[in-house]
C-alpha cells in the first residue's frame, strides 16, 4: 500500500512543475497557430476571391517584398483596407471578451457570469444609444459608450458597498439591477427616437457589427483591450486565490480589494471598448471560458490566455459567417447568441452530469 502510493507520488513529481509548463506550452501554441491560419483564411474568403497564397504575399510585402507585386491594386485594398481591420477587430474583441469573462467567473466564483453581468454592457449600450439619439457620431458616440460603461461599474460598486465592504453576491445583484435600469433607459431612448432614421441606426448598432471597422476603430479597441488584458493576465494567480472566496483569500494574505478593483476596472474597460466600437456582442465571455476550462483545467494561469485565443478564433469565425453566409450582413450579436445558447446548454448539462461544478 505504502509502496504503491510512493510510486504514484514519484510520477506525480515528474509531471509536476515541468509537466504543467508543458501542458500550457503545448495547448497555447497550437491555438495561436490555428488563429494565424484562421486569420489568413478569413482574409482570403469573401465576395472578392483571393487565395491564401496571394493574401500571404500581399501582407508580407508590407514588411519585406519577397516577390514583385503581381496582384491587382484592388486586391491589395480589399486585403489591407477592407478585410484586415475588420479581422483584427474580431480577434481583439473575441480575445478581450473571453479573457474578461474567464477572469470575472473566477472572481465571482460563479461559472454563469459574463462581462454583461457587472452592468457595463448595457451601460455602454445606453451611452451609445443616447449619442445616436442626440445626433452625435463616430468618436463622440464611442466616447459616450465608453463613459457610460465605466460610470455603470462605479454605480454597481457604489450600490453594492455597505459599510466599506463589497460582497460578491450583492455586486452581481447590483449588476443585474443596473443592467435592467439601462435596458429600460435604452427602450425609452428608442421610443423617443425618430422611427425612420435614428431608430434603425440604434437598433443595428446595438445588435453588434464590426463590418465597417477602420484602423482607427481597431486602434480604439486595442487601447481598451490590450492594457486591460495584460493587467488581468498579470493577476492570473491572484484570481485563483480569489476563486476560493473572499474570506479565504483574505486569510491567505491577498490584497482582496485591490485585486477586485483591478479586475472589475479592466473588465469594464474591455466591455465598454467593445460595445463602443462593435455594439453588444453577448455570450462570448460566458461560453468560451467553459470551452477553455474543458481543455486546460481550472487553473487561471493556463485558463486566461487559452480563453483569450479561443475567443479570438471563435469570434473571427462568427464574423466570417456574418459576412459570407448571405449577401446582407448578419449582426454579430445574433450569431453569437444563436450559437452560444445551445452550446452553453450542452455545457451546463455536462457540468451537472460530471459534478465538475458545485452549483453555489
Amino acid at each position: 500500500m505504502s509502496r504503491s502510493s510512493a510510486e504514484t507520488g514519484a510520477s506525480g513529481a515528474v509531471s509536476g512543475w515541468a509537466g504543467r509548463k508543458l501542458a500550457s506550452v503545448s495547448v497555447l501554441p497550437v491555438l495561436v497557430g490555428l488563429l494565424v491560419a484562421v486569420v489568413l483564411y478569413s482574409v482570403a474568403i469573401g465576395r472578392y476571391d483571393l487565395s491564401v497564397r496571394d493574401v500571404a504575399y500581399i501582407l508580407i510585402d508590407n514588411v519585406h517584398p519577397l516577390v514583385t507585386p503581381y496582384w491587382d491594386p484592388v486586391q491589395e485594398v480589399v486585403v489591407e483596407q477592407v478585410r484586415l481591420p475588420r479581422i483584427m477587430a474580431a480577434v481583439i474583441v473575441g480575445f478581450g471578451l473571453s479573457i474578461s469573462g474567464a477572469a470575472l467567473q473566477g472572481l465571482f466564483r460563479n461559472p454563469l457570469v459574463d462581462p454583461g453581468i457587472i452592468g457595463v454592457t448595457s451601460g455602454a449600450g445606453f451611452g451609445g444609444t443616447l449619442a445616436i439619439l442626440i445626433g452625435l457620431q463616430s468618436y463622440l458616440l464611442l466616447g459616450m459608450a465608453f463613459l457610460f460603461g465605466i460610470a455603470s461599474i462605479f454605480l454597481v460598486k457604489l450600490l453594492s458597498t455597505v459599510r466599506g465592504r463589497t460582497s460578491m453576491l450583492t455586486l452581481v445583484l447590483a449588476g443585474v439591477v443596473i443592467s435592467a435600469f439601462f435596458s429600460a433607459a435604452i427602450s425609452v431612448a428608442k421610443l423617443l427616437a425618430d422611427p425612420f432614421q435614428k431608430l434603425p441606426a440604434i437598433t443595428y448598432w446595438l445588435m453588434g457589427s464590426i463590418a465597417s471597422s477602420s484602423y482607427w476603430d481597431v486602434l480604439l479597441i486595442a487601447v481598451a483591450v490590450v492594457p486591460s488584458a495584460i493587467a488581468i493576465h498579470l493577476l492570473r494567480y491572484q484570481i485563483n486565490i480569489m476563486s476560493l472566496g473572499e474570506e479565504k483569500a483574505r486569510a491567505l494574505g491577498t490584497k482582496v480589494v485591490l485585486v477586485q478593483w483591478i479586475i472589475l476596472l479592466a473588465s469594464a474597460l474591455i466591455s465598454a471598448g467593445v460595445v463602443a466600437t462593435s455594439g453588444i456582442i453577448g455570450w462570448v465571455g460566458l461560453v468560451i471560458p467553459h470551452v477553455a476550462r474543458a481543455l486546460v483545467g481550472a487553473d487561471h494561469q493556463r485558463l486566461l490566455p487559452v480563453s483569450g485565443v479561443i475567443g479570438a478564433i471563435y469570434l473571427l469565425m462568427v464574423d466570417n459567417l456574418a459576412r459570407t453566409v448571405s449577401t446582407a450582413e448578419i449582426p454579430l450579436g445574433i450569431i453569437t447568441a444563436l450559437i452560444g445558447v445551445p452550446v452553453f446548454a450542452v455545457i451546463l448539462r455536462r457540468l451537472h452530469a460530471h459534478g465538475g461544478w458545485s452549483g453555489d
Binding site: 494567480y237 476560493l244 486569510a251
Partner: protein, 252 residues
C-alpha cells in the same frame, strides 16, 4: 503567540463577542468549544484577520495559516493547485508561483503522506483527504500559528484520529502553535493543552485543559448534564452527555 484582550466583535450591527480576553503561548494547542451559533467561527475569523474587531487588542506573534470548515471550490482545481495557493502571501501581486513554491508545496504533500492526491481534483476527494490538503495549504504558507475551524466536522473516527495525530505531530515536531474549534470535548482531552469554553458572546472560561475542562463547566456550556467517564485500564478519560429524552419542551 495569541494575545487577545477586551475583544469586541460585531457582525451586521449585532455584537457577537463582547470583551473576550484569551492568550495562548507559543507551542501550545487551544481547543475552542461552544454551542452552535455562540460565535466560534466569528472568533476564529477574527483571529485569522478575516473580520476586523470593533474594539479591543488583538496581537498574533507570527504568520497565521487558516483551515476553514468543510471547504469546496467552485472550479475543478487539482489538490496541487489548492496547496500552491497557500503561497499567496510570499508572492507579489503580479507574480505566479515558481519552482521554489512547487518544491515547498510538494514537501508538505510528502510530509502529510498524501503525494498520490496531487493531481486529483480537489472536489472529488473525501472529506478527510480535503482536510489534509487544506492543512497542507496552510503549512505551505509557512505559518507559525495554525487555526482550524472544526477540522473534524463530518469526519469518521479514523479520520478524526488522523487529523488529531497530525495536529499533535505539528506541535511536537515543528513547534507549531494551534487553535481549533470542535464540538467534541474528547478532541480537547486528547490533544489540547488549553481550552476556551464559549458559554455565550460575553461569558467564557479559558484555561489549561486539566483545570478548565470539567464536567461542571461542560454542563454549563451545553446546558445538559455531562459526566466524566474513565476508560478501564487506560490512563484516559472522556466526557459523555446525559441526553434528557424529555418531550415536554415541545408544544404538541
Amino acid at each position: 503567540m495569541i494575545e487577545v484582550s477586551g475583544l469586541t466583535v460585531e457582525r451586521g450591527g449585532k455584537t457577537i463577542l463582547r470583551d473576550y480576553s484569551v492568550s495562548l503561548e507559543r507551542g501550545r494547542i487551544l481547543a475552542v468549544l461552544g454551542a452552535n451559533g455562540v460565535g466560534k467561527t466569528t472568533l476564529i475569523n477574527t483571529l485569522v484577520g478575516v473580520i476586523k474587531p470593533k474594539s479591543g487588542r488583538l496581537s498574533i506573534g507570527g504568520r497565521v495559516g487558516f483551515v476553514p470548515q468543510l471547504f469546496e471550490v467552485p472550479f475543478s482545481y487539482s489538490a496541487l493547485d489548492i496547496v500552491l495557493m497557500g503561497r499567496a502571501r510570499h508572492l507579489g501581486l503580479f507574480s505566479a508561483p515558481g519552482k521554489r513554491d512547487f518544491e515547498i508545496a510538494r514537501r508538505y504533500f510528502h510530509m502529510l503522506a498524501i503525494e498520490h492526491l496531487q493531481q486529483q481534483a480537489f472536489n472529488s476527494l473525501s472529506g478527510g483527504q480535503r482536510q489534509l490538503v487544506m492543512i497542507a495549504q496552510a503549512l505551505a504558507s509557512e505559518c507559525e500559528l495554525l487555526v482550524l475551524d472544526e477540522p473534524c466536522a463530518a469526519l469518521d473516527y479514523k479520520n478524526q484520529d488522523k487529523v488529531l495525530c497530525l495536529l499533535e505531530h505539528l506541535r511536537n515536531e515543528h513547534g507549531m502553535t494551534i487553535a481549533f474549534s470542535t464540538h467534541m470535548p474528547q478532541h480537547a482531552v486528547e490533544i489540547a493543552s488549553d481550552v476556551l469554553l464559549m458559554t455565550s458572546g460575553s461569558s467564557y472560561v479559558c484555561g489549561p485543559t486539566d483545570e478548565a475542562l470539567s464536567p461542571e463547566n461542560l454542563s454549563d456550556l451545553y446546558d445538559l448534564p455531562i459526566a466524566r467517564a474513565d476508560f478501564d485500564g487506560l490512563a484516559k478519560h472522556t466526557y459523555a452527555p446525559v441526553f434528557r429524552h424529555d418531550g415536554a419542551r415541545f408544544n404538541g
